[in-house]
Point group: C2
Chain length 753, copies 2
């Protein structure tokens, strides 16, 4: 655990520049607007250890898969998140000396991310030779003009005289740090000194993946009026310098506006014109006016999603940080995008889309964003159905297999034990359709596009199972479950269970589907009978003596002992143990059987949940950031409120406290919903199956109160759990719901329960 | 199946240049002398499709392992067989036209490998503009001066006048074809035009693996007298040109002698001097004299190892080709070398040493070469014990884990499912010690160096097993058995069986070990008790109903159906099916349970062998070249003589008939012993356990007779199986042995049984 920032309800701020942990600081102070984002790199540059990172949604590179021995079915390429050309730079010299916090003397450092609207500010006093200059920075990526980035820097001379030169740059000479091959992914096309723009293209690839072209354009302003510096260009770079002479007491504030357009939206030939038009919109209003409009959008979001925690300031900060970072990553504006595990905060993990979205993000987004945001996430998968069919074909299988990792629907992961075997992802994508439908009551997706997804993935399952003559049951061999600390296991209970769930749900929805889709899908009676046979005769590993569902066929033969027996200096085991030792160990990375009990929560008795939780949780090392939240929800349901609270802490401040020692690489964006799930589904016991919203609220011991908002079927609700529980209907038609099993009727006028 | 060469008892010859299958021709006409070897590339060059390959024993490069996600325990590098600088080239022009069989007109092509002594000859008539020239080539790599290669070319003008220029070259500008990265592994150091030599070094590596320096030197001779051509050098290359004017009817024979020394034997600074001394020895005698001395060595080998088959010329050619190629690869001269899967015939497969040596080569070499040859193979493993300890430490395990693939003892394979899991290799290395001891009666190795190997590997097993509380038995999870078409299985019967066998054998031999070694090994009573507990309480998957040993815990749950159900156009499955489909299928790549029945042949009843053979063989696709021979031996033992004959055919002519469609990459050197095993252990039923040599001979239906020689404990025996069976003692003291279970006393004077 490492806490670099001060605890505050709405700020993530520090008065210390942590040079040894600069990368961690950069991750935590990343900002984004769903279209693009960047790490908390310094405008003026920084020669110390740092990870430079600017990322554009949906802009990537397909890199050759490298394996020891190629085998049929391996993906040809993996999708690489590439560091994009940077618009951030404003180099600074004072009386000819470079300002560089790695080497310069300074005092009064302060860095703050305002969670209200993703505004990053910074200030420090530079101590030069006979001169002291205060610098104040601010940056945000606009929510109203997605292509626009606003950066401002103000210099105030506190002592002496300062000749200050600002060097505002656009920089396409960027590389990926994680690339094995020291490759450059960007080829400079054009620099335009007059238009102050650079244009670059991703290098060619042999896989038929389109190359991306981007254009970056900048404009400097002082007092809201454009100023023009000295422009110089080199290949892939543009520099614009402004020098001012400032006497003691004088200030100078420079604003840098940047526009970034990509060939995802604008053809390369039109990019210069489009960027100029956008820049015109930018310069038509002041920095302050743009910030106000941007903040207004954020206020609308917070009004529907804020969570208040009283009595635990660290928990309060954690949940708001997570919500803010999630919304900076994705708010559904672009249906071609999804939520990558590091969002716009790092380059680690090839590919942008994991099953994390469906399993962990959807249940939160359903409640805190308008339904169309979640629907966009569902639509994304429908739009990638051709890729899913391709992936199944690669394995010689029927139907659709969604990828473990992708940008475009084609599988991009390059380990067979994941690509071929971690197929449970297919069911999670179907389950998100169920969740969306159950929460919103909106059947339009599941009747049409969603049905295509269901049938495609169901057909995959029907081909992927096999019939074991000996046991006269269907089985699923050779899978990797959610617990990636086992590979290539047989009859993973979770996978078998979810596969059957999906076949059942698909049969059920097929009967109610839109006629045109049902006709086009042409599911034969024979197919339906086969699906039903699988449903009726699936094998599930269980142990009657222990009364548990067994993670996979041979799990109970392992050397079973609790994770508490692992010496502390060997944790996390994935940084200390060989892969062989991990695979053979009984230790579980993240919820596996318990993930099934979480998803299909209404199908199991409390006693079943309790026996399985008590068996598996002690074996679980929670080394996936996705693990603690699911356990917290179940622990709360089982009345293990202390355990739930402990697990909540790990998910709420995973990045702020760097629990897994890896936040320096980027934030764990997709697990950020976990803290919300732990509060709302865990402590508040929210459930919404069977067309009824229900709560079973509990209060963690050290909390005085917590409050959250939900949208539910056209309503806005506020839930307040303190010594008493209050659910209020803030907007929308009357609602019948339940608290602690008792029916409650809510109306707006007097909606208190 | 593709048969390019004519059937002949001692020749592998063809009258056709197969341009479409030139690589296959090159593989089959490779020659070597245990120190170096080269594919059947043409001296004059060839611009058509071809795989240029010259290889030096023990000269390799450690290349960076590339994987999708690095995990603890992965090998840092893999060992690459590198194409070595070539000494072969003699470019030819006739009246200024390049002779190149890919483009030139020619007639009367003939290419022949003489199996008596590995002599490759070739001739053709070049058809130029108004000129016809016959060229005759010969080459061999000396068995008496291992660093020496002899190449000769004779030009005879049949029509017209020919100005013939010979360009004899040394070429260090070579690359590997299988390298993903277009890297050059050789850095030129020096070219010496006066000494006619070039010197090169392998490029640096970051793994502490020594770089190799080689020096190549050439000398031209005509009528056994040195001649000096025009020498020119470029970086890493040397060319020496001789031009002769030949009238119709005139001949000119040019001999090129080459010396290759490497830093494995001679320090770089001394290489020029050493090469000069060696060249002096070469030029002191004629080509014919060197060839005679070389052939004499080969005659001595054949006298102890020839196999005669009457009635099946193709089978006859197959077994002699295999023996010759094996002896060209390894005859025990250099204890630092081993037998790589492609020998000196191709660059495929990283690394030079697999468990193939112990499992498949040792049982043959024991009988056909002097005992010290096999002992050298054993010694190799002892000398690499430090690497084996390293490999176990990498996994966090005690003891010694021999590598799956290596040059130096360090694991070089880069797939976790092989590196970490195919650990049965450890037992094969111990089993070779047992075989050597049982066959030769020589206990000196097992009492001393061999005991260190046994205890090191036994300690690995003792740490690698785990105790399953539920079943109160020891288990081995997470392994890959010999059947590599399954990965990461639990309780592979073969692995569990061989691990226990090894622990038993180690305890037994430890009690009889040399005192100094036993003391140094310091095996505690507690350790011995632990080993005994594992022996007593190991779990073995079995099926009482089927009466078989079960390949691994979940094997019988598979969709079991015979390999005959696979459509012919989907064979081999590894070229048609996804890896996922193969892994989940019931199809077996090579003997797995049956490998155990083969090794521990005396421990199982005939009924047990029969039930297991009848269950597993139909599931086996024999897609490893190591598979058919083991099945042939068992089939013969079980009286399934037709099945044995069918399987023999696949192993005897695997390369000559290109059964697996991959001989173009190089010969399957380590599986070449399979044909010998099928004859001697299969048809002749040779066994040697319990200190008694025994035969149970059978005659395949289409054979009239077969004969083979054996050395056994200081004796030379001849076995003749026709309508009657005769075993003769050709040399050595009297021997009591058994034929068909009946005791036979053999003496040299009248040794007929």
């Amino acid at each position: 655990m490492k806490r670099l920032f001060e605890v505050d309800p709405w700020l993530v701020a520090t008065h210390h520049l942590d040079k040894a942990d600069r990368r961690l600081q950069e991750s935590i102070t990343a900002v984004g607007n769903g279209y693009m984002g960047l790490r908390g790199n310094f405008e003026e540059g920084y020669s110390g250890d740092s990870l430079q990172g600017t990322y554009l949604g949906g802009v990537w590179f397909p890199d050759k898969t490298r394996v020891g021995w190629w085998k049929i079915g391996y993906p040809e390429y993996f999708g690489k998140v590439i560091n994009a050309p940077s618009f951030l730079g404003i180099g600074i010299t004072v009386n000819g000396e470079q300002v560089d916090l790695a080497t310069s003397r300074y005092r009064d450092f302060y860095l703050a991310l305002d969670l209200h609207q993703g505004l990053l500010t910074r200030r420090f006093v530079y101590l030069g030779d006979g001169v002291e200059v205060r610098f104040e920075f601010a940056r945000f990526l606009s929510q109203t003009i997605k292509e626009a980035a606003f950066v401002s820097v103000k210099a105030t001379v506190l002592r002496g005289h300062a000749a200050v030169t600002f060097d505002a740059s656009l920089d396409g000479q960027v590389t990926n740090e994680d690339s094995n091959y020291d490759e450059r992914f960007w080829v400079p096309l054009h620099e335009d000194a007059a238009a102050k723009s650079i244009q670059l293209q991703t290098k060619p690839n042999p896989y038929g993946v389109p190359q991306f072209t981007v254009l970056l354009k900048q404009q400097l302003r002082v007092n809201d009026q454009p100023v023009n510096g000295q422009v110089a260009t080199t290949s892939g770079q543009l520099h614009e310098q402004v020098t001012v002479q400032l006497a003691e007491g004088q200030s100078y504030q420079l604003e840098k506006d940047a526009i970034v357009v990509t060939s995802r939206d604008v053809a390369p030939a039109a990019q210069a014109t489009t960027a100029a038009q956008l820049m015109k919109r930018v310069t038509a209003q002041s920095f302050a006016a743009h910030l106000a409009a941007h903040t207004d959008r954020w206020e609308q979001r917070w009004a529907k999603s804020d969570v208040v925690i009283e009595g635990d300031p660290a928990a309060q900060q954690g949940i708001r940080f997570n919500i803010a970072q999630l919304f900076m990553t994705y708010y559904g504006e672009d249906k071609r995008l999804n939520i990558g595990p590091k969002g716009f905060t790092g380059e680690k993990y090839g590919g942008a889309t994991y099953w994390d979205t469906e399993a962990f993000i959807v249940p939160m987004y359903l409640a805190v964003t308008p339904p169309e945001v979640t629907r966009a996430l569902l639509q994304y998968r429908h739009d990638q159905l051709p890729g899913a069919f391709h992936n199944a074909r690669q394995q010689g299988l029927a139907g659709a297999l969604y990828p473990m990792v992708t940008f475009n629907g084609i599988e991009c992961h390059n380990e067979w034990e994941i690509t071929f075997e971690e197929i449970h992802r297919n069911a999670a994508i179907a389950f998100a359709i169920y969740q969306y439908t159950a929460y919103t009551g909106d059947e339009s997706y599941v009747k049409h596009d969603g049905l295509e997804v269901l049938v495609g993935t169901a057909r995959f399952w029907a081909d992927r199972v096999h019939f074991s003559q000996r046991t006269q049951q269907y089985m699923i061999h050779g899978v990797t479950g959610p617990n990636e600390y086992e590979n290539n296991v047989n009859n993973n209970w979770y996978t078998n269970t979810m596969a059957v769930w999906e076949l059942q749900y698909t049969l059920e929805r097929l009967a109610k589907g839109d006629a045109d889709v049902v006709t086009a899908l042409a599911v034969t009676d024979q197919e339906k009978q086969h699906w039903q046979a699988i449903i009726d005769h699936m094998y599930y590993p269980t142990d009657d003596q222990l009364g548990i569902f067994v993670q996979q066929d041979n799990f109970l033969d392992k050397d079973l002992r609790p994770a508490s027996t692992i010496p502390v200096d060997q944790r996390p085991i994935n940084q200390h143990w060989s892969w062989d030792r991990i695979l053979r160990s009984p230790f579980i990375k993240q919820a596996d059987v318990l993930q099934g009990l979480y998803f299909l929560n209404d199908r199991f008795t409390k006693a079943e949940k309790e026996r399985n939780f008590d068996f598996y949780e002690p074996l679980t090392v929670h080394e996936s950031s996705l693990s603690p939240s699911i356990h917290a929800v179940l622990a709360a349901e089982l009345g293990k409120i202390d355990k739930a609270t402990e697990l909540y802490a790990r998910t709420a401040r995973l990045d702020l406290d760097d629990y897994n020692h890896d936040t320096q690489d980027g934030l764990h964006i997709t697990s950020m919903s976990g803290s919300w799930l732990a509060i709302v589904q865990g402590f508040a016991g929210m459930r919404y199956d069977h067309d009824q919203l229900r709560f079973h609220p509990q209060l963690p011991k050290n909390w005085r109160r917590y409050q959250f908002k939900l949208n539910y079927r056209g309503r806005l609700l506020a839930v307040d759990v303190g010594q008493t529980v209050t659910v209020s209907l803030l907007a929308g038609p009357a609602l019948d719901m339940a608290i602690d099993g008792k029916p409650v009727h809510l109306e707006v006028e007097d909606g208190h329960a």
